[in-house]
């Protein structure tokens, strides 16, 4: 399963750029990928390296092609790549600064504008044209920066990072995990498309819903397939050859389910067809009648089917597909008990959940995501009065990121707000009230009759 750990042709990967931005690309062999101002590289040059590798783009001997073709004028020249051993752009190590003096405090800190930066922008551009790596440009700039040593170590680091980001031509090739896909969408401004869901909230969802590779799950996903991708990754880890039997039944309110984002996944079409079934809400609640299906169509023996003429054969295949599909719908909507109900939908949950939960096995979780706490509040009030739900509660999970530099650990000044909420309950099976010994007396039990003051 090389494609899980190594960069493979025809695979979707996500690239992390020096700017901190992300880019999803499909690695078509013998083509090049342009990263705009960060350069361009040849796909074939990165195939075979471990996923997670950071590459630097460099240009040998004035290799900027002085192409006369006007079409190529705005095209980023394709450079060569080499592996970077030090991670840049993540955390900063103080070591690279050890050969430069720094003032211990910022007493001498002055505005380092262009006057102090002795190199002109032309000189820098020239350096960039010469095959020089971003690191080297920055090193030259420090040399010529007359006031660099007057800065505190901290501001030197900040300066360095800023410059490095500006001139660096490097990128990291990452496995396109569900978390990265989410991050990419958020960065792109598609927050609303994924219902403002955060990584920590969906992580909590996967655990409290007890998602595992053998489960049969009933799901509604209004995030364009992101939730389903998170579930698939948790269940199968991207492995197209997985022998696990888990299945996700996705209910949808439109004619077709929108699982668009799965196009970025590296699961084969066959794999997705085997493990993800889509059924419309109407088919689910008003499934076709089995004898009716059979009255419309009956498969003929394989031998006979094989002997059908070309035109007829196609028509037959289509009807056969329809036939199996109808029977599958009957199976999924009337004969299956599910191992969890997982909903991320803006349909009214207080009417939807009690109906869908009928199909959930006892002791299995019911988990709903909403961007708004109030929606889940209404839902929990409804579920409290329904004895089939045990202890519905609302949870909120937030990650607080820190500046992760030794000696300077502190929470970041800003972080993303939002991230949504979860409702978590268990499907249970109410017992009939036991007969009274003597007189009727509504009393309190360990968990008093539902709908006490809660």
């Amino acid at each position: 399963m090389d494609y899980l750990h190594h960069i493979t042709a025809d695979q979707h990967v996500i690239l992390k750029l020096p700017s901190g931005n992300w880019k999803i690309v499909e690695l078509k062999p013998h083509t090049s990928v342009s990263l705009g101002k960060f350069g361009a590289f040849q796909v074939d040059d990165i195939i075979g390296y471990p996923l997670g590798t950071q590459f630097e783009i460099y240009y040998e001997n004035q290799s900027q092609p002085n192409d006369d073709d006007p079409k190529n004028k705005n095209r980023t020249p394709v450079g060569k790549v080499r592996i970077m051993d030090e991670d840049v752009g993540g955390s900063t190590e103080g070591s690279e600064l050890s050969n430069v003096n720094s003032s211990a405090n910022n007493m001498n800190l002055i505005n380092i504008g262009n006057e102090i930066q002795a190199m002109t922008s032309e000189q820098i551009e020239e350096l960039k044209r010469q095959s020089i790596s971003g690191e080297e440009i920055v090193a030259k700039m420090i040399e010529s920066h007359s006031a660099f040593h007057k800065k505190t170590l901290q501001s030197q680091e900040k300066y360095l990072n800023r410059k490095k980001r500006k001139f660096a031509k490097y990128f990291t090739v990452e496995y396109l995990s569900a978390s990265f896909l989410l991050q990419w969408l958020l960065e792109k401004g598609d927050t609303q498309k994924v219902l403002d869901m955060s990584e920590e909230t969906v992580a909590m969802l996967l655990n409290v819903a007890n998602i595992r590779s053998e489960g049969q799950y009933l799901c509604m996903d209004e995030t364009g397939g992101l939730l389903v991708y998170f579930m698939l990754e948790r269940m199968f880890g991207g492995d197209n050859n997985s022998s696990h039997t888990g299945k996700i039944v996705v209910l949808h309110e439109n004619e077709h389910a929108n699982l668009d984002l799965l196009k970025y996944s590296n699961y084969s079409e066959k794999f997705i067809n085997d493990h993800v079934k889509t059924v419309s809400l109407l088919d689910f609640f008003e499934p076709p009648n089995e004898s009716e299906i059979d009255s419309y169509f009956k498969p003929i023996p394989k031998e006979e089917a094989r002997q059908l003429k070309a035109g007829k054969k196609n028509a037959y295949q289509r009807r056969l597909k329809w036939y199996y599909n109808q029977h599958e719908i009957v199976q999924l909507s009337t004969k299956s008990q599910y191992d969890a109900l997982i909903i991320a939908s803006t349909l009214q949950l207080s009417t939807l959940v009690p109906l869908l939960a009928e199909k959930v096995h006892g002791s299995r979780p019911v988990v709903c995501y909403s961007q708004f706490k109030e929606i889940l509040l209404e839902l929990t009030h409804t579920l409290y009065t329904d004895l089939r739900f045990l202890a519905p509660s609302i949870s909120e999970t937030r990650v607080r990121p820190y500046q992760s530099v030794r000696g300077k650990l502190h929470p970041l000044m800003t972080m993303r707000g939002g991230g949504g909420y979860l409702m978590w309950a268990h499907r249970v099976i109410p017992a009939p009230e036991p007969p009274a010994h003597e007189t009727e007396d509504e009393g309190n039990g360990p968990e008093e009759k539902k709908q006490k003051t809660q």
Binding site: G237, P392, S393, H426, K449
Partner: protein, 367 residues
């Protein structure tokens, strides 16, 4: 119970010998081994295991308590790692679901993962890992805790967990023949091939264990590590060790998990409040008026008969829109309510800092 089936895999019917969780209330969940000869006792009454056997998991079991004849019940749940975390016997501090779920996601845990965990502690996180990953190598240096976890993992049917008795900070993670471990050696192998691609360190000095990871992590893949430490000084030392050992993308975060319960607050309008005040004033005036009449009568007519001399009673409250002076249950249908949320009375404001880092040891190309 069929010993080849883990009590943690999906099961439908409560059977003799099963590990089941009895849900009394949200903060009172008790593990039991189902035994037809046993009773489960609560202060509200006794529930026979016999009454559970044969019923589907999730069933409510109800009784009338003898003495007071009250309706009392429990739910019998199938264990899941998350419910286990809420009910397990604590041998140490444990990792709770808001933290463990995030760590699993950041380390991209799935059936293709091989995970190292040290120390095992109470096995809370081990159960969540075991549900999800291909194989878990867990290490514990405290011998009593090691023995307890060994038995527990066996009873819980977790074949994908290897437990080793080891001080990982001094002796590392390599598992050799004759080491105290549950690892099953192939015929001729001298040591276990681990090749972990995710590592979780929940021990006081992770910086001592970090340098020893290179021998057991996968060489040609991106490997993730998470160190779980309550103090910021520990984080600082951990980052130092991680940097020295070539780990990159170091990031520390903290998780805040909150639970909300849904409640109701009575809708009490200004109009009703005013109307009530008017009502009180009216009653008062009526009372004064009546008293005046009485005194007048007494003073004017000394030969008043007995009936007339009785003290007048103020009229009973007529308008009581908020049920003042009576016990109103939250949600009483005779009143109007607004649905509200209330955060739990005590929240976990700090569990630990999570320091993540990643590393690829061998970046050479394969063909």
């Amino acid at each position: 119970m069929d010993s080849s089936v883990s009590p943690f895999s999906y099961r439908d019917i409560i059977q003799e010998g099963d590990l089941a969780l009895v849900w009394i209330s949200r903060d009172n969940i008790k593990p039991i081994i189902v035994d037809a000869n046993h009773m489960f006792n609560t202060r509200y009454g006794s529930f026979s295991h016999k009454s559970m056997i044969g019923k589907p998991y999730g069933s409510q079991i109800a009784i009338r308590t003898k003495g007071q004849n009250r309706f009392s019940f429990i739910h019998v749940m199938q264990p899941s790692p998350e419910l286990w975390t809420l009910s397990l016997p604590h041998r140490t501090q444990i990792v709770y679901t808001p933290d463990s779920s995030y760590i699993m996601q950041r380390l991209n845990c799935n059936p293709c993962s091989t995970v190292i965990e040290a120390g095992t502690g109470s096995g809370s996180f081990s159960h969540a890992f075991a549900r999800t990953v291909g194989h878990l190598y867990s290490y514990e240096f405290h011998s009593v805790r090691y023995e307890q976890a060994l038995k527990e993992f066996k009873d819980h049917g977790l074949p994908n967990v290897t437990l080793t008795h080891r001080d990982v900070c001094s002796d590392g993670f390599t598992i050799k023949r004759n080491d105290p471990t549950s690892y099953l050696f192939q015929d001729d192998a001298a040591q276990a091939t681990i090749n972990a691609n995710a590592v979780f360190l929940d021990l006081p000095a992770p910086w001592d264990a970090v340098p020893l990871l290179d021998q057991v992590i996968a060489r040609d893949q991106k490997v993730g590590v998470c160190c779980f430490s309550p103090c910021i000084e520990q984080v600082d030392k951990t980052i130092e060790a991680l940097e020295k050992c070539g780990w990159t993308e170091i990031q520390m975060v903290e998780i805040q998990g909150k639970q909300w319960e849904s409640r109701r607050q009575m809708v009490r309008t200004l109009d009703d409040a005013l109307e009530r005040l008017r009502d009180v004033r009216r009653r008062k005036e009526e009372g004064i008026e009546r008293r005046k009449q009485m005194y007048d009568a007494v003073l004017k007519d000394d030969e008043a008969d007995g009936e007339k001399s009785e003290r007048p009673q103020p009229p009973k409250t007529k308008f009581n829109p908020f049920g003042k002076g009576t016990r109103v249950r939250e949600g009483d249908v005779n009143y109007q309510w607004k649905q509200v949320t209330k955060v739990e009375p005590e929240i976990k404001s700090h569990t630990s800092f999570l320091t993540f880092a990643f590393k690829i040891m061998d970046k050479s190309r394969i063909c």
